[in-house]
Structures are given as C-alpha cells and as structure tokens.
Symmetry: C2
Subunit: 298 residues, 2 copies
C-alpha cells in the first residue's frame, strides 16, 4: 500500500471516520465508534493513533479533522467563525500531540449571532460541495439529528438555521408513548399526507402526534403508516418554517440516507427539485479544501 | 378507625392512589407505586389488597377504580364510551377477583372517532368537576403528560383533543441535546416571551428549540431562562392549536401543580381567566359519582 501524504478525519459525537489520502485520491479508509462523546480530552490522540496506525511511518503526517472534535468538550476547542464567511476556514486550530509524527489541524465550526445558531462539521460538507460546484449560489440543506438550512452566496455562508426535527423524530418514535404505534417500515403516501397536514396547520403538531396513538388504539393503524405520518408531520412543520429559505431557490441536499430522501420527496412535492449530494464525499472534499489551506499558509 | 362503605382507586400507569370512604367523607388514604405499567394482569388484585388491607373486614367491599387499570394492558379492559356522552359511565366493567370480599368496578375511558382520540382517567376528573359544578358549560383543560382539552355542554363531553406537550417537554428537557442547557428553576418572563413567539409563529417551534442550545453555547443563557422558554415555546404552540377550544369560552383547569399554573398564566395572558380545580379532589368526586351509579343500578 502506498503511503498517504495526508489523513482526513470526520470526528463526530458518536463516530470517528478516517481516510488515508494521496492528494485527492483515497488510498484507504476506516471507522470506529471512538466518538467525541466517549472520550476525555487526553484520550483523543490515542483513539486517532489506533485508527490510523496502519498508515503511519516514521515520517510526519498531517491530519485534518472536522466535527465535534473541535467542540469545547472535544480534543481542543476550535472557536466558531462568524457568518457571513467562507465555510473553509482562514485559520485552523492545532491540537497538542505527544507523538512527534502527528500534526493535527481542527476545522472550526460556524456561528450566527442573531438568531443565535451554531454548526460544527456541516461547514466542512458545505465547503466540499462548493469546491466541487464552483460559483454555486442557493440553499444547502443538511438533514440530520439537527438539520441545517444554509443560504450560500458568492462562496460564503450568509445565514443558516437549525431545526431539531431529527432528534424529535428519534425521541418520539423511540421513547414516547408513540413507540408502541410506530413500525420499522415507512409508508410514502402517509408521509406526503401528513406533510401537507402540518405545512398547512403547523401549530397542530402536538395534537397530530397524539392522534397517531389514538388511531393505533381505535383503528389499529398500520405501524408503517404511523412511521410515515410521524416523519411527515415533523418535516411538514420544518418546511413551513424554512419556507423563506427554499421558496423559489436552488436547493442542494447533502446526504444520501433515508432521511435525505424524505427531504427530497418533500421538496419535490412543493415544486422544488433539489439536487442530492453524497455526504461522506462532501466531507472528504471539504477536508481536502482545508488541507490545501494549510499548504498555502505555510 | 371507622369502617368504610366504599373505596375509591385512582390507578394510573405509574401510581395507585386509594381512599377509604364513608359516603363523601374521606376516612383515610394511601398511595403506592404499584402502577399499571409495573403489573401483569394477575398482579392487580394482590396490589390492591396490599394497598387497602388496613381497611378491610370480613364484610364485602365495593371498590371503584379509574385510569389505566381499565386499559387493554391493565387488569380488565373497560371499553371506551364514545363522545358525545356523559363522563360518568352508564355502565362499568367488573374485574374478576379471587378474594370473595372484593367487588371491583372499573370506569371506562372516552373515545372520539374523528379525529381519533382517547382519554382514560381524565373522564373521572371531568365527572367530578361537573358533580361539584352543576350546569357548568365551557372548556375543561387537564394539563399533564398528554394534556386534554374537552368541550362540555349540558353535562356531556361533546368533543376533546389531546396534545403531547407534556411528554415533549419531558423528552426535550431530559433526553435531548437541550438537557445541557435547561435548569431546574423557571423564569416566568422568559416563559411569557416564548409563549408569544410560538403563538404568533407556531411553525418555527423546531428552530426555536435549537436556538436554546445555541444561546447556551454563544451567550451563556441562564438555564432557568431556558427552562421557562422551553415550556413557553411548547405551550404557545399548543394554545395556537387549541384556540378554537378556549377563545371566548369559560375555561376550567383541573390541576394544581406547576404545569397547571403555567397553563393558567398562559391563558390569562390571552385575556382568558381560567378557574383552577384541584385534581385529586376532582378524581375523588368523580369516583363518588360513579359509586352512586352502581348503587342506583342495583
């Protein structure tokens, strides 16, 4: 196996994903569950060394990392850059390492003052998307536990807004009284109908939620219908609130999982065709853009 | 201690509360955590006997029970009565007992077909309120994990609607990313401001929620302010949706805890003065009304 000239790391709360890179070519990749949430600050270097050990030689190695690794409770705090700004940072933060071979740069997140908002990790995906799509203006939607909508203009993140839709879905389907009514499948027709219900009457969300329970008890509602409806209800409320972002705009969705597909279906139903980009690929392209910055600044 | 002529039982998911009664006079009361959620069907009789043992003699004893004890997964299923109907049941379901001294009547819950909705336990509180407030027409609000709004006319429950607001508050404050930002105190000014935010823009709820996290990270927002705001955001969305119930109506709130006070403050801010009734007292009055029905029907 050839030797990498740099290593990219996507280090979130629950996972660490690493890529062995030669320029823009992926030589190898690996992942582990050594997420930020499981580590104390002095455990990050060991977790990184374990993950990238097969790729190290006696030479020095540059690692570029993004995500919660740069949070206050991470390895080293990489203070947020304020929007409007480019998603690729002007300056990264360097983590202290005991192993003299490692140089670890951490990508800072973005913050917005009014209304207060933050992102950490998604800025790298946005940077990757813009590196691959030069001069692209529009809206980038990043579905997830905390979905982000970002307004992009002239290569900068102008503003953004976070919705807790994904986390609400997880809590309601897994830990609320609704867990008895929700299946593992997903009914697209039920999704679309529920989407319309909350897009037109978003304030009724908490009532529509309990209605899922009542339909289960009284009508034996199919659990896959209930799952489709739950995701539709939550996403409809989000689309009602994020309308100023997507209405009449170019929209790109970063993500290729079931959640991203649900956003794509929902936007298409509003007459907004969204392009869909693969999330790990955008992360990697963003890390590469950040790596190039480190070369230019030295 | 004098001997009771009947026993009332409020048997919910997490608790069992029993009262030793002589007519409408409480001789004694007790409670335990032997809720429906912890018991298999064959364990209910033993749990009841343990709770009421000090009050039993060799004579037979009538027990009237309400709540989840009558659910499908309870002691015996007491099928829902369909609204519109009186909250005091025309007919109760009798549980099988091994102990020949016990006669246990279970109060059925209420159901609504369109939109589908159910209640179990609250109907007894409504019956109690109406027993104590003859000829009262208006709206009864029963705050809780699943808050109920019921439209009362001519002694009947005409329609009702359930909101999952309380459960959402518990999940978001205790198990979501917001748990790091939420304190134990409760700031009333923050509550009122947030209430207005979602009453006027209910669709923005999921964005306002993450804003609590961002304000904590960026501005060090006071955790009691965050708790006040979280309850205000959720309640404001509920009031926006339940407006057809409370606007221009007489409203009674059954409950005397912090949650019920929050509803009272929120309604007062909309120019709706609500009367507040003590929940256990309403339960007991409702059980007594149900007990009287058993006497009349024999």
């Amino acid at each position: 196996m050839s030797s990498p000239d740099w290593i990219g790391a996507d280090w979130g709360t629950s996972h660490l994903r690493v890529w062995s890179m030669q320029g823009s070519t992926v030589l190898d990749h690996a992942s582990s569950d050594a997420g930020m949430g499981k580590l104390t600050p002095d455990q990050f270097e060991g977790a990184l060394l374990t993950a990238i050990a097969p790729w190290l030689t006696d030479a020095t190695m540059t690692v570029v990392a993004c995500g919660m690794v740069g949070a206050r409770q991470g390895w080293i705090e990489a203070p947020y850059a304020s929007v409007p700004c480019t998603p690729v940072p002007q300056r990264m933060v360097t983590a202290q390492t005991l192993d003299p071979r490692l140089t670890v740069h951490v990508v800072p997140g973005l913050k917005q003052t009014a209304p207060a908002d933050v992102m950490r990790g998604e800025e790298t995906q946005i940077a990757g998307f813009l590196a691959l799509n030069a001069d692209w203006d529009g809206i980038i939607c990043l579905p997830g536990t905390h979905t982000k909508w970002a307004h992009i203009s002239a290569g900068e993140v102008v503003s953004f807004q976070t919705f807790m839709t994904g986390e609400q879905f997880a809590l309601l389907s897994g830990q609320s009284v609704l867990k008895h009514s929700i299946g593992t499948g997903w009914d697209e027709d039920a999704f679309k109908e529920a989407l319309n219900d909350t897009m037109s009457r978003p304030e009724r969300l908490a009532a529509y939620l309990f209605n899922l329970r009542a339909r289960h008890l009284l009508e034996g509602q199919d659990p896959d219908t209930a799952r489709g409806r739950l995701s539709g209800l939550l996403l409809g409320a989000e689309l009602a609130a994020s309308r100023p972002f997507w209405l009449g705009q170019h929209v790109a969705i970063i993500g290729d999982d079931a959640l991203a597909r649900a956003y794509s279906i929902a936007l298409a139903a509003q007459g907004v065709p969204a392009i869909v980009a693969d999330a790990p690929r955008m992360t990697l392209a963003g890390l590469q853009a950040a790596y190039r910055m480190t070369k230019e600044s030295t």
